[in-house]
């Protein structure tokens, strides 16, 4: 399922799957993070509608649910693009020139933390992803790219047909 599929796609059983995940945890508030994980995986991002539904089912205050969802990098509150570049800005990657990578992506695509208007590419940053030996590292759609150069990013963007 593409991560940016509309929330109300026809023949949608995601609601049922999410319900099942919550009932597996007896709708306990302590299971909030697990439930958010499931919701994020099913829908690609956590919409206000989804967060409200989860808050009601787990009997939690909405502000806490949003607080938790906004704390972890794993969760996103906005729909992601078709492809995501996450540039590591940890110390090792920073020293190895990660800022140049962010600059290149921001110049060609969009500001870090946002998605291009055509929904093609999301640019993200992270702090040390634990692959310092590969610095500067970029996570491209879940896979770690090693010793990335701005030219290397150009080639990736060419390949996926980004403007």
């Amino acid at each position: 399922m593409p991560p940016n599929a509309p929330a109300a796609a026809p023949k949608d059983n995601r609601e049922k799957l999410l319900e099942r995940a919550m009932s597996r945890h007896q709708y306990s508030g302590d299971a909030l993070i697990e439930v958010l994980h499931t919701a994020q995986e099913l829908y690609g991002f956590l919409s206000p509608h989804l967060l409200t539904a989860i808050a009601h089912k787990l009997r939690l205050p909405p502000s806490r649910v949003l607080g938790v969802a906004s704390f972890y990098h794993f969760f996103s509150l906005k729909p992601k693009g078709e492809h995501t570049f996450t540039v590591c800005l940890g110390t090792a990657c920073y020293v190895a020139g990660a800022l140049g990578l962010v600059e290149r992506l921001e110049k060609r695509c969009c500001k870090a933390g946002t998605t291009t208007p055509d929904g093609k590419v999301s640019v993200e940053t992270a702090r040390c992803i634990g692959s310092c030996g590969l610095a500067p590292a970029v996570i491209y759609d879940g896979a770690v790219l090693a010793r990335v150069t701005p030219e290397g990013l150009d080639r990736e963007l060419e390949r996926i047909g980004a403007k």
Partner: protein, 238 residues
């Protein structure tokens, strides 16, 4: 409950087992600086202003979270602690936009009072001047994020005393901010009962009564002890 004897700043003091260094010190007239602690609600150790030295321990301890022990030797006001506290206050000042001269809480702000008591007349760090909104959507109160120090007193009083849990903390790091419900304007919050407890406990001018202008906002923090004692002990002590 057993009584414990310890030494704080060279003074022999006693407290009940389970009490924190912070509260025993205050009971004995030793006023450890604080920002996130306020009697009547839980402690979270968010501000680190109450850090003290405990003999035999290398790391500094947050007095509001550390329980007293028999024979403990505590120091609350060494040069090292003073330097740390000063830096914390300067960091808080530099992190948002604390322009006391135009603040509703001027003269009644706990952050300002801390800075004054530490002799901070300038901040050695570069101000960040972040852009934060002011939420005036609530009928009676306002929320100016520029003056928030993220102590979370409002979050805890609303959750633990009022029971509404309107507030929580959004995001992480320097970009964190206090939100109501799902991040909608305070005035649109369905959970807020409009009780005003958060406004009273807020140490700065971040939460304020509408209609007050510069230096007019005065807060009543005594109410908290009154209602918490009433609830827990069924005693109404004015």
């Amino acid at each position: 409950m057993s009584v414990k004897t310890l030494e704080i700043d060279g003074k022999m003091v006693t407290g009940m087992a389970g009490e924190t260094i912070f509260s025993v010190a205050w009971e004995h007239g030793i006023h450890i600086p604080r920002l996130c602690h306020i009697g009547g609600i839980s402690d979270v150790g968010a501000c680190r202003l109450c850090m003290v030295e405990v003999e035999g321990q290398r790391k500094l301890q947050a007095a509001c979270l550390t329980q007293i022990e028999e024979g403990m030797v505590v120091r609350t006001d060494t040069p090292r602690l003073k330097a740390h506290r000063k830096l914390i206050v300067e960091l808080l000042m530099a992190e948002r936009n604390h322009i006391c001269a135009v603040c509703v809480a001027n003269g009644a702000c706990e952050l300002q009072e801390l800075a004054r008591s530490m002799g901070i007349d300038h901040v050695r760090l570069r101000y960040r001047f972040p852009v934060f909104p002011v939420d005036t959507s609530n009928e009676r109160f306002g929320m100016d994020h520029n003056r928030c120090v993220l102590c979370t007193r409002c979050v805890r009083v609303c959750d633990e005393v009022e029971g509404a849990h309107t507030w929580d903390v959004f995001g992480r790091g320097a970009g964190s901010r206090i939100i109501s419900d799902l991040g909608e304007p305070w005035g649109a919050s369905e959970s807020c009962t409009g009780c005003g407890k958060c406004v009273q406990v807020c140490p700065t001018g971040a939460l304020f009564d509408k209609g007050k202008t510069v230096a007019e906002m005065r807060k009543d923090r005594g109410f908290l002890k009154y209602i918490v004692t009433a609830r827990e002990k069924k005693q109404w002590i004015g």
